[in-house]
Symmetry: C3
Amino acid sequence: MKLEELAAVVDGQCQGDGGIEITGMGTLQSAGVGEITFLSSSKLQSQLQACNAAAVILRQEDCPVWDGAAIVCDDPHAAYAQIARVLDSTPRQEPGIHPSAVISDKAIVGELVSIGANCVVEAGVQIDAGVVLGPGCVIGQGAQLGQDCRLSANVTVCHGVKIGDRCVVQSGTVLGSDGFGNSHEDGQWTRIPQLGGLIVEDDVQIGAGAAIDRGALGDTEIGNGVVIDNLVHIAHNVVIGEHTAIAACVAIAGSTVIGSRCTLAGVVGVADHVTIADDVHLTGMAMVTGSISEAGTYSSGTGLMPNREWRRSAVRFRQLDELVKRLVALEQKIPD
Amino acid sequence: MKLEELAAVVDGQCQGDGGIEITGMGTLQSAGVGEITFLSSSKLQSQLQACNAAAVILRQEDCPVWDGAAIVCDDPHAAYAQIARVLDSTPRQEPGIHPSAVISDKAIVGELVSIGANCVVEAGVQIDAGVVLGPGCVIGQGAQLGQDCRLSANVTVCHGVKIGDRCVVQSGTVLGSDGFGNSHEDGQWTRIPQLGGLIVEDDVQIGAGAAIDRGALGDTEIGNGVVIDNLVHIAHNVVIGEHTAIAACVAIAGSTVIGSRCTLAGVVGVADHVTIADDVHLTGMAMVTGSISEAGTYSSGTGLMPNREWRRSAVRFRQLDELVKRLVALEQKIPD
Amino acid sequence: MKLEELAAVVDGQCQGDGGIEITGMGTLQSAGVGEITFLSSSKLQSQLQACNAAAVILRQEDCPVWDGAAIVCDDPHAAYAQIARVLDSTPRQEPGIHPSAVISDKAIVGELVSIGANCVVEAGVQIDAGVVLGPGCVIGQGAQLGQDCRLSANVTVCHGVKIGDRCVVQSGTVLGSDGFGNSHEDGQWTRIPQLGGLIVEDDVQIGAGAAIDRGALGDTEIGNGVVIDNLVHIAHNVVIGEHTAIAACVAIAGSTVIGSRCTLAGVVGVADHVTIADDVHLTGMAMVTGSISEAGTYSSGTGLMPNREWRRSAVRFRQLDELVKRLVALEQKIPD
């Protein structure tokens, strides 16, 4: 596309030769011939000197330091996202069912669906129009995939799972596995059949290698527009509110309810049967053992220290209660 | 089944119309026509008002607040588990070998086995009677699966792994991968072949997306009745005692030995070459860097706080050793 | 092989009958007839009494406690690693393309390649000589695998990923998945196409169930000789320096740069856009929220405690800032 066309897409102002052809995107460092990049912050201005991009998306105030072609706009990051969608070069799998795929004659497959090599689609499955399944996906009995869902290679969707429209799932992920349900009888764990389902609403994105369990009774629910990163664990009967974002390696235990528009940073752990309000933000590696009723940002853990110093602090942490008693004793000796 | 039949299964007392047909289970909220639910605690009594279940499993003392059909018993949760097994509606894969599966003629496959589409069973594999392999499973050379094991779709069992009877493995899990074995020579890591095996005893349950390594030399061992949740990492030569439960996202490093009847909550990390006694319970996100010789419950980390307050505590944690010195100085100035 | 031949391989001195045949390796406990083991430390001398190995690799100073056949050398662990490579009994997949594999006629496949059952190799893929793909691997459009790479069963390599020579990847791992890239517009997350690639250099080892994302723009890069354990998450545009070792369940967020020869112990979390110097060592479960410019060992968290005591320390941690204020108040009352 021409630069001036891209400028129109993002409602930006084209500067320099609007007729140049833009064929791809790159970073400030990597962008070269025919590629456009963006300056997300004025702090990075110095990187423009060595930038070889054909054009740069930037703010008005950054224009003086770049004399090449540009798209000027208020939010270069949002403009980058829009242009990336236009220039998306991700290879598309051709529509049609690969001859090696095993499709039950009791499955319903919509129009313009693409099913990759060695996929397995079991009886009672419903796949709506425009769905793409990468090679090696397994769709269990009675599962449903809404319009235009895209599953990368080797995704497993277990029986009866319901996925809404336009969801995107990366490779290796498992949706609707049996949860960790056992009764403890005579010192032994006995399996409880997991009879519930998993409902994933519309526009949900799920990363690679994630595992989301079906409900024990009733359903596990992932709300509209939720985004989930790699290697996330979501246990049985968890409910995630709309537009919540869950970063990599988060673990959410059973029956926990998480509000809408929350953000969970990487490696957060949330205990079972906890309720978290809307608009709660958890910083990286936070440990949540109880419910959170107020919106806000929450944290736990300790900061990184050189190991030798950390060892001293860690020893003192063990003694904290005793140290407080010594402090109180001193206070009692020294009245106001 | 009829309600009175289910009551007999759990040794409970049928109340109301014992002839009603029960076809499924649900939660207090979700259970509807033909479905039974259970009241796990008297604290939830208020939820019975809006409950639409055909029948409820409850304790004698909760009967006054429910005038519908019921099964009265001492432990509604245990009764629920038993009835869930009776009413289990999980679809069963038909016995037989799917024509798309690739089975070595040097594999031994027992009676009433079900092998799903696109499975691969290599030479020397032994699959005992009643085993079910979901679609896309790969069973490596010489591996053994005991009677009635059930592997969901896309499970990988590496060469020579031995799995006992009645084990259940969720999708995406890898059993017997090569461990993280390297020698450090001249500043570089050089791979050490992993020559040991993996032995999983009977009645073991393993969640989705888990990874259990084979031994470097000698075997990794998972004892009878161990239950393991999603995305758990178990390194080479780890030994897990019988009936221990390991929740999601736990990481256990190499050559560590964990006792029997332990519980490891989610995201616990255990260092290598550590020995943990029987009946040890580790709370969520606990960090275990040394051996534990006494049964009991252990924890680490800090509790969740609003981020602004947490930042202050975290700063003080860094200064703890210095603060103690100031406390000591004060104590010396104020003799008893 | 004969014991004397193995001694020559490791430049060690053969002691006892050098003609005995060694067919395998074991641990001090497991090694039996025909098997060799090694004594890594003099602390383990007592285990030699019950050792049934045909021969032991040990240091000169440990010879007095073992009167059987032996290889005497300076570094028994390094010798073990070398001999393990010689005696490696891991079954090899036969060269050739399994008839059930789906190979695009637009893929280039080198000599002596072994492609397992049900693999999928898409258009534009280049597979160099000696590569082994276990069953069920999917290699996406235009991906490249260098000479002698070995991928275990069910590995997914996404489109355009470039992998160097002699890399080893365990089962279930995903290389080149789309990263967690979204723009936040009107309270909703909107997907940003991930247009970058993933470059894995030579001699890289990657464990089971790991997920390494492609770049958003520009590439994610894994340097020569990097070793990565199971269930590790590496986000888009991360750069890992040469010979760095990353243990299991580590999570590294987007655009972070990690130096060469670093070690990250298990369950370490590293925030996004952080730069870590060469030769930095992070202990288990460390939380890295900022850049580290100096080589050294760093830690965070608190040590394991009995739960009852931990609860008291955790309460005091919340009060730390207030406690310091009380300490300061006392100090002001008691001048020097």
